[in-house]
Amino acid sequence: MARVHDMGGRTRYFGPLPPIDPDEPVFHEVWEARTFALALLANRVSGANLHAFRHAIERVPEEEYLSGYYQRWLASAELLLLDSGILAPGAVEARARRLQGEEVGEPPVPEPHKPGMPSGGPGNLRTVEAAPAFAVGDPVTARADEPAPHTRLPGYARGRTGTVVALRPAQVFPDTAAQFTGENPQHVYEVRFDARELWGADAEPGSVTVDLYESYLERAR
């Protein structure tokens, strides 16, 4: 079953667009700014990575996820700190209750168990020696099998056939990096799907272009 974050094309999330306010402040409230900074720092302190951070956001339950962007960032920051044993379960809630005057005990500081995935360097771009499996112009089909707990293959593209229109720099594979099982860097392809292939014969004319990792693709039959 598709999870909340995988929104492309899902009518469940359709609705009126919000207005575009060119003067919108970067942060609407002080807590949003603090959440932004602390989530990035929580990721660092936890020994996690960008992919694990995205996965943590995807693990937030639908109702809380939909309550707002920085709401889900805040929940994911706490998740990463719990995952790595930096904070004990209940620590944030107990401290929050104390801050509002409740007399509650706080759990002891746990023994951290940060992930120790070796990294090939900062950022996510890598050099891959193996030749790319596909070339510009090749027809490719995105895999339709059960995806990893975190994947960057959008649900709407699964099982669909498109054409490679460009090669991108090789990158760390999100599906394994998010689980701390390895970087597995691989070639990335810009794949263009005709709108009718994705949405059927009545689709608005046009195309959707998606950047897909080599493991997501097979040669179209």
Binding site: D6, G9, I20, L38, D83, N124, V208, D211
Partner: protein, 200 residues
């Protein structure tokens, strides 16, 4: 992996929860206030769509720069001093009278921070993320952007670490304008591709 029931009660206000989180990390020296403030200040003041507007204005004014920008977006953008997280590999998509590009991230809200700053509310909205891949013309029309039937509409879903910047069409009546004057016309929404740059 942590069970969600172990995270703080979401009915407690986020302001209170983030204050609690911060105090727990501060007292153990895991983060320091100066770093928190620097992160916030950087994205409130130094990084934002005014950076992307400079890139676009230069591309409109300097044909050689435009060529470089389209061939190697990362290097051409870095030459103006704009680089960093969420901009490690930049690809610039040129809008023209025949092709219109629009960018989304359906899976989260990936966005080219060094040139556009942090994403605005509308870009992160479930309605935009769900609809624009399936009915992009309806989305653009709802925001007042009408495209002719002959215009090829290309939607880009930012699913890898590549980040996209749309190079909008230069509006008519701007032939004598300086780069600085042009930059003042360029809007964030046009650099994502949901609107065009309006003539002055």
């Amino acid at each position: 992996m942590t069970d969600l029931r172990q995270t703080a009660d979401p009915t407690l206000s986020p302001a209170l929860r983030v204050e609690a989180l911060e105090s727990l990390l501060l007292e153990r020296g895991l983060v320091d206030s100066a770093t928190v403030e620097t992160f916030i200040r950087t994205y409130e003041t130094a990084v934002g769509p005014m950076n992307g507007a400079k890139v676009v204005a230069k591309a409109w004014s300097d044909p050689e720069y435009r060529q470089w920008l389209l061939e190697d977006g990362t290097a051409a953008i870095a030459s103006l001093g704009f680089k960093g997280p969420q901009g490690e590999h930049m690809v610039v998509l040129e809008n023209s009278p025949t092709v219109h590009n629009v960018v989304v991230c359906t899976l989260c809200s990936c966005y080219p921070w060094p040139v556009l700053g942090l994403p605005p509310s509308w870009y992160k909205d479930p309605a935009y993320r769900s609809r624009v891949v399936k009915e992009p013309r309806a989305v653009l029309a709802e925001w007042g952007t009408e495209l002719g039937p002959d215009v090829e509409l290309r939607v880009y879903d930012s699913s890898s670490e590549v980040r996209y910047l749309v190079l909008p069409e230069r509006p008519p009546g701007t032939e004598s304008m300086s780069e600085e004057e042009l930059a003042a016309l360029v809007t964030r929404d046009a650099m994502v591709g949901v609107r065009k740059v309006a003539a002055p």
